[in-house]
Amino acid sequence: MFWHDLGIWIAAALTLAVFSFLYRDNLLYKAAEHIFVGVSAGYWVARLYNDVLLPDLIYPLFDPKMVKLAHPQYLLIIPGLLGLLMLARFLPGGFWLSRWPIAFVVGVSTGTYVPVAVQAFLLDQVGATLVPVVVHRAAAAGGGMDWATSLGNALLIIGTLATLSYFYFSRPHVGAFGAVTRVGILFLMFAFGAAFGYTVMARQSLLIGRVEFLIFDWIRPTLAALGAG
């Protein structure tokens, strides 16, 4: 309980220290910032060692029974060495050695990413814009024209084509083509407006999260402990 309460008080103090930046940059804010960077780095190192290096490299090589393996996996020496070469960039004159693992990572990532990216982000997305402009309701739903879906599909097609036209720069945006690109700008503006609204909502949520913490986890329990809650 003591450690839990201490944690809450430290978290509350750091939250207020960060909020103090609203007044102006100051020592408390800087201290909170540095503590955050230090704790984050330490946490990352600990998690990487415990969750990645131990089960994926150290146990399989030196203590295979820990991960239910019968024999040491000596092939892992190769990726282990490649990983160590990453650190060579800190050696004077050994910088070039770090290019090997980087080349490996870049090559493998590109090779695996390109085919699925074409599928997921190009073909599937293009496919999703090939929709009927006239949509009829199913007979079970009463039949007839489904105006809402039809209008939505028409807007989708017009919006996609007009926005793509705006990014076609090999022809001046004048005349009929210019009119289409202006429609594209209109769609872009709608998208930017929605993005702005969502961004405000997100930032607001972060503030709400902190205020919620301060009120329900810090102030109210403290007042209750003092007999004033």
Partner: protein, 284 residues
């Protein structure tokens, strides 16, 4: 000699000191916590789509929750994690948590503990936290080949092969759905590698900033439903009839949004009026 006029109310509207805006927003955020206003929460189609998908899963199905976020965005994403986990537990679905963000594993533990506050669900039988792995594209693709090869130990260092829940869970074919709770671009990686390459069913719960980027995938059917920001969490809480952190924050969200819209309108009104006044002065 012309008498110099002081600034009008319209001029003042364009020069509202920053601290006044901070105070207005702070008041709008804090007030509902002290006096709840209980604004209604309307459930969107995208949230209902995910809810319906999970609701129709047969008991015993395994839902994979990816905790790809850290404490900086937990205000938006943790309520989603808790609400979805509660829904799974209520329907006797098993939940496997994975994390592509180092902070995610700890937040996964916290979400499971909150959703299982009555202690009815057993770890390793009804839920498991497989922990954090680095290199997200490699991890997602590796899970499509053999999850046990990628996650050898869970977050408590238990060999994954010894975990009852994971005995028959080897690839995406054994997972009913993967729901990525994300504050970065990981949903696209799940869509590309798990969805497009391995045919996994993918959904996402994302921060409001990212929500707009997810709509094309929602529309194309590459995502089965989506939870967007705190509102998405509040909507899901409403669907499972268990209002919590998400619903609690929505009053503040609504009031603060109202305050911001009002400030934007007033500032624009001030801008238009002062411009008109300046033009009139020039004409004279």
């Amino acid at each position: 000699m012309l008498q110099e006029q002081g600034p009008t109310i319209w001029d003042r509207l364009l020069r509202v000191p920053r601290w006044v805006i901070y105070l207005i927003i702070a008041a709008a955020v804090i007030f509902p916590f002290l006096h709840p206003l209980r604004f209604p929460v309307e459930v969107s189609q995208r949230t209902r789509q995910l809810y319906d998908y999970i609701d129709k899963l047969p008991p015993g199905s395994v839902v994979c929750l990816a905790f790809d976020y850290g404490p900086s965005t937990m205000a938006e994403l943790q309520p989603m994690a808790v609400a979805v986990t509660r829904h799974c537990f209520r329907n006797n679905l098993a939940v496997a948590g994975v994390a592509l963000d180092p902070w995610g594993a700890a937040l996964c533990d916290a979400a499971f503990a909150t959703a299982n506050s009555d202690g009815k669900k057993k770890e390793h039988v009804d839920f498991v936290n497989l922990g954090y792995k680095t290199g997200y594209s490699a991890v997602i693709q590796g899970m499509g080949l053999n999850i046990h090869e990628v996650y050898k130990l869970d977050n408590r260092k238990t060999p994954v092969g010894d975990i009852p829940l994971m005995k028959n869970v080897r690839t995406y074919q054994d997972l009913a759905i993967v729901i990525d709770l994300a504050s970065s671009s990981t949903p696209q990686a799940w869509i590309a590698f798990a969805g497009a390459r391995f045919g996994a069913t993918v959904s996402a719960g994302v921060t409001a900033v990212m929500a707009l980027d997810m709509y094309p995938y929602l529309q194309s059917g590459q995502l089965v439903g989506m939870l967007g920001g705190l509102k998405g969490a509040a909507e899901y809480e409403k669907l499972i009839n268990q209002p919590d952190q998400g619903a609690l924050g929505m009053d503040s969200q609504n009031l603060a949004h109202g305050a911001i819209v009002l400030l934007v309108l007033l500032a624009n009104l001030g801008y238009v009026v002062t411009r008109r006044q300046a033009r009139r002065r020039q004409e004279r």
